[in-house]
Symmetry: C2
Subunit: 251 residues, 2 copies
DNA sequence: CGATTGTTTGATCTCTCTCAATGGGCGTGG
DNA sequence: CCACGCCCATTGAGAGAGATCAAACAATCG
């Protein structure tokens, strides 16, 4: 097993100790993409009053209470579905700054939110959330962008799940991880895997064993280097992209 | 092949002849879920000026020009991806009232919009669309609901694609069709398949042959009756739901 | 009415799942 | 501090579901 706990940039231990239920001290209030960062002091305060921040250990299911709008402050949250015979799927995952909005018109909810790492979330009261958005166009735009991004992630994910083979799925996932890390400080070619092998398998519609074999194969092909359990070094972007795009196994 | 062209409630021929580029005569302006229905006359007019309505024959690719926000007036539009070796996936599909918003922060677009039936779409100029939404809260809420619904569809779809077997996928799809038809006038137990077998296969991550076999099997099990190519009668909801939820093949 | 496209059926092959066993971290408790 | 057990990751051998290939058939379109 790797020497690194599932931390990466996804969980920072010190942040998890920060005083809760106070938007001003919250990491999100400084994340420019997040709507919180665009709120005025009074709006932040108003939201504070009706929000409930909480820290989750790894592999914890979020309870339903309090309301269907949840902001992810730190760590990774997955939407997990379990079939009758125990098969499991993670249909989407959310990281720092994502707004999980479970309000919906028609269907019954079909899955549970589970922390895939140690995580920090903030449950927002729907009415307070909504009224703040109506007041503040900047915040509304930020939330809309996040929603659209989730849609695009979903579309990309469906493409991966649809007709790709195991190696192709993994290549695609590694590139997705690299993109989703984004801006940050680390080495350019590094991809941080934000979850365990089992969860990765559930996300990509594979079996954990197949994930293991696939990563090994990509390594043997010289496209990646599995540094630790949660860090992958990308050795050849173009080739990896071609694999992810279904170019067969001939590099 | 069935006796029915891909019409169902998804395309109504007469509607497609209606004068274009005029929101007032547009079907969407009367669809309560759609944001258009909530606009004032002047807002409708303003949007009219910057919109471009067009009718697409079946299997037509939408060109990129004009802007990334598209409203579906009638028919079905799919987001189609093609891998290097020709494998195809439809990662999502959109029907009457859906807003396809292709604006996105980071990634490059990875797919093409294709009509899966004869269809009628309306391309909206981004700035006009955005300013109308900022003026009109009702319209904004309607669009947000539509976005959220797309996310939830995506989540459900990922669940189907992840670890389900062919029959389970098909059972799930039929139920999805039934739900998405929704309110309408027809027989309760009828599900309208909004696309051809090939497209259905691409949507569910299967091969057309497998779709054919799967539907036949569901029919033999007495759960459905394939009336025509585009109409399925659901004979047992509870059993179909159990199959869709992974209850194996023992009904 | 012929050409083309889309659907169905059958036989074979292949990739992934499944089952089983090993080995490496990590936390617990002696 | 070390031994134990648990969980997770990995590896191998066998089985099954779906893909692939090939061909017949039905339906649409010009």
């Amino acid at each position: 097993m790797g020497t690194l706990p599932p931390i990466g940039r996804y969980v920072q231990k010190d942040l998890l100790q920060v005083s809760l239920n106070n938007c001003r001290s919250c990491a999100l209030a400084e994340l420019s993409e997040c709507f919180c960062a665009r709120l005025t002091d009074t709006q932040l305060e108003q939201l504070s009053l009706h929000s409930k921040s909480s820290v989750l250990p790894n592999k914890t299911t979020l309870e339903d209470g309090m309301g269907p709008v949840i902001a992810v402050v730190e760590g990774v949250i997955g939407m997990q579905h379990t079939l009758e015979d125990g098969r499991r799927t993670i249909s989407a995952y959310y990281t720092k700054g994502d707004i999980i909005d479970l309000r919906q018109r028609s269907d019954h909810l079909q899955g549970a939110l589970v922390s895939l790492t140690k995580a920090h979330v903030c449950r927002l009261q729907v009415t307070a959330f909504q009224s703040v958005l109506e007041e503040n166009h900047g915040a509304w735009i930020a939330v809309s962008e996040n929603l659209r991004e989730q849609i695009h992630h979903g579309i990309g994910h469906a493409t991966d799940l649809g007709k790709k083979q195991a190696i192709e799925k993994l290549a695609s996932f590694i590139l997705e991880c690299h993109t989703r890390n984004g801006d940050s400080d680390s080495v350019m070619a590094e991809a941080i895997i934000p979850m365990s092998r089992v969860h990765l398998a559930e996300y990509m519609g594979l079996q954990a064993e197949t994930v293991s074999r696939g990563l090994r194969k990509l390594e043997q092909m010289g496209l990646i280097k599995v540094s630790t359990m949660y860090e992958v070094l990308i050795l050849s972007f173009p080739k990896l992209k071609r694999i992810a795009n279904g170019a067969g196994c001939i590099a």
